[in-house]
């Protein structure tokens, strides 16, 4: 059977095509990936999630050297959400390549490295080293971390800086390059356009919204860092609106995320025009959330008699 839609397809028993292309020809078997920082280096979920069933595993943000991150407390719960100020604690790319990547490969996971640098030059170096290592399917560059002093969201809130970082990373890699945007901006579509022009193959959004919470009994911030990033179901309407704004302004694939907890949530993003989604905080609430979402999307497609997920993507009636 020939599937309709973009021509991207994978054969499953009932001729349901779940495969999507997320840029530069990278086809993943289904549109459900993990969001960086919420799935560790992947192996933390081993035994609970068969990593090969995921569209891709996006690992915790990696930097050139190991980073200690912020002092605790680093997280706190908020209504239907949570704040985090991890501060990009990570083992650094060397240790990742030596210790984590081989295990992920063994599990047949499609691996996307999320990367972070304090300067465009650092982004370039990290991109180059990861590209050279082999076995990584794509890079997602994080220009939107609200929890670090240098770089991070600063890059993501200025179209010019965002473009500079994108150019630096683009220069260092032939891998599909996904640029992850910050929602803490007036006009996210403008930033999206500028990273598209700078050579991004795809755009992912949203990173966390900057938020804060206070322990009123002690009159102290709940996070040692004072400010953290808000994630979880609470932010889904904002994330969806931004994805909707961006898909109308760029022609490269858009990967949506922010508060996706169930299949219906993922479907909102796909229908709005996202080519794929990332699942973040939901992994904490339900370690098998990604698998349930994949199954839920398949059920939905069958129920609605849609053979190819690409026919669903962007099908919002407005």
């Amino acid at each position: 059977m020939v599937t309709k839609g973009s021509g991207v397809f994978s054969i499953v028993n009932d001729n349901l095509n779940m495969a999507v292309c997320i840029g530069r020809g990278l086809i993943i078997k289904n549109p459900v990936m993990t969001a960086s920082g919420t799935f560790g280096y992947g192996m933390e979920y081993d035994g609970l999630v068969d990593l090969s069933r995921l569209g891709a595993v996006v690992v915790k943000g990696l930097s050139l050297k190991p980073r200690a991150g912020n002092p605790p407390p680093r997280i706190t719960e908020t209504p239907a959400g949570m704040l985090n100020a991890i501060g990009l604690q990570n083992i650094g790319i060397e240790a990742f390549l030596a210790e984590k990547l081989p295990l992920l490969k063994e599990r047949n996971a499609v691996i996307i490295a999320n990367i972070y640098g304090e300067t465009p030059e650092e982004f370039r170096q990290v991109a180059r080293k990861l590209t050279g290592a082999g076995g990584i399917a794509a890079l997602e560059i994080n220009i939107s971390c609200p929890n670090v002093l240098k770089g991070g969201a600063a890059f993501g809130s200025d179209p010019k800086l965002a473009s500079e970082v994108t150019i630096a990373a683009r220069d260092a890699t032939d891998l599909p390059l996904i640029v992850k945007l910050s929602p803490n901006v007036t006009d996210i579509a403008e930033i999206a356009r500028s990273v598209e022009q700078a050579g991004a193959d795809a755009i992912s959004l949203i990173n966390t919204l900057k938020g804060m919470s206070i322990d009123v009994e002690r009159r102290m911030p709940k996070l040692r860092n004072i400010i953290g990033g808000l994630s979880g179901p609470a932010i889904r309407p904002v994330a969806l609106r931004m994805v909707w704004e961006v898909v109308q302004k760029v022609s490269i694939p858009v990967i949506g995320m922010g508060g996706i907890a169930e299949a219906a949530d993922a479907l909102e993003f796909l229908i709005a025009g996202a080519r794929a989604v990332e699942v973040g905080t939901a992994n904490f609430v339900n370690p098998q959330a990604t698998l349930r979402i994949i199954e839920g999307i398949e059920d939905y497609l069958r129920r609605h008699k849609i053979d190819d997920i690409n026919d669903l993507i962007g099908s919002l009636a407005v």
């Binding site: 920082g37 933390e44 081993d46 904490f284």
Partner: protein, 268 residues
């Protein structure tokens, strides 16, 4: 490998009653496949309706009955999550992810265990007492501290498992008046000479004092720590504590590197 020995499941509440003050005992039936928890391990408990509260709450597995598949928890109402938990009734369903974390280690041949429990900290030590209390040639002394007589929970179980339970209360309403550490310090030299292994759980202040006390002697001491958690399995890096002697990243995760740590490893 410990990693896969955990499941995300849900169970039915068999009972959820107030024991004393704001402390409750929760009993939950668990699926047949629920792995046998080791002393010191915990589970993340999740309310199943809606997204608020969102995250599971870590509670030590206080007791476990493998024959009937019943897990028991003791918890104190301190905020929204535990308050919501306390409203659950028999018959309501609840999510359960566990057993999680590294358990207490008891070296082969240890013949003297000392448990130090402050308040609700007793919840983390009960399984240890029950497991080793039955062993020949292993003596267990328990130091149990509470604010007041009415706050003491889990005493029966401990008494039946331990060779001795010494009670202290801050207001002197039962046992000796004072902090549990103040009583323990008097026995510390003797315990050290007897080769005792210490196991402690309680408020951070209590553990910090214990850490200072133990600078004077070399008795091994494992403690169970608390931190706010999200994932419970090492992925989010939300639950870290600062530890000594780790150069690049001076943090370890309470959920999977702990909750049990060597007391001397932690930066107080």
């Amino acid at each position: 490998m410990i990693m896969s020995e955990k499941i995300d499941t849900c169970g039915e509440i068999l009972g959820n009653e107030r024991l004393a003050g704001n402390c409750f005992r929760l009993q939950v039936t668990v699926a047949a496949g629920f792995p046998l928890p080791r002393p010191g391990q915990f589970a993340l408990l999740k309310l199943l309706r809606g997204h608020d509260p969102l995250l599971g709450r870590p509670l030590s597995i206080y007791d476990f009955d493998p024959a009937n598949g019943v897990a028991t928890f003791l918890y104190q109402v301190v905020g929204r999550g535990t308050a919501a938990l306390s409203l659950q009734k028999k018959g309501n369903e609840i999510g359960l992810f566990g057993p999680l974390g590294r358990p207490f280690q008891v070296p082969e041949g240890a013949s003297r265990l000392v448990l130090v429990a402050g308040g609700i900290g007793v919840a983390a030590l009960n399984l240890l007492a029950r497991e080793y209390g039955r062993r020949r040639g292993c003596r267990i002394d328990c130091y149990l501290g509470a604010r007041s007589a009415s706050d003491i929970i889990g005493l029966e179980q401990l008494r039946s498992a331990c060779d001795q339970v010494k009670i202290t209360t801050e207001d002197g309403s039962v046992g000796e008046k004072g902090l549990v550490t103040e009583i323990l310090v008097r026995d510390l030299t003797e315990l050290a000479e007897a080769g005792a292994h210490l196991y402690a759980c309680g408020p951070r202040g209590m553990l910090a004092r214990l850490a200072v006390m133990l600078q004077e002697c070399d008795s091994p001491c494992q403690i169970s720590l608390e931190e706010r958690m999200a994932c419970g399995l090492g992925a989010c890096l939300g639950c870290v504590v600062e530890v000594k002697d780790l150069p690049d990243v001076p943090y370890r995760r309470v959920c999977c590197d702990g909750p049990v740590f060597d007391i001397r490893e932690i930066c107080w």
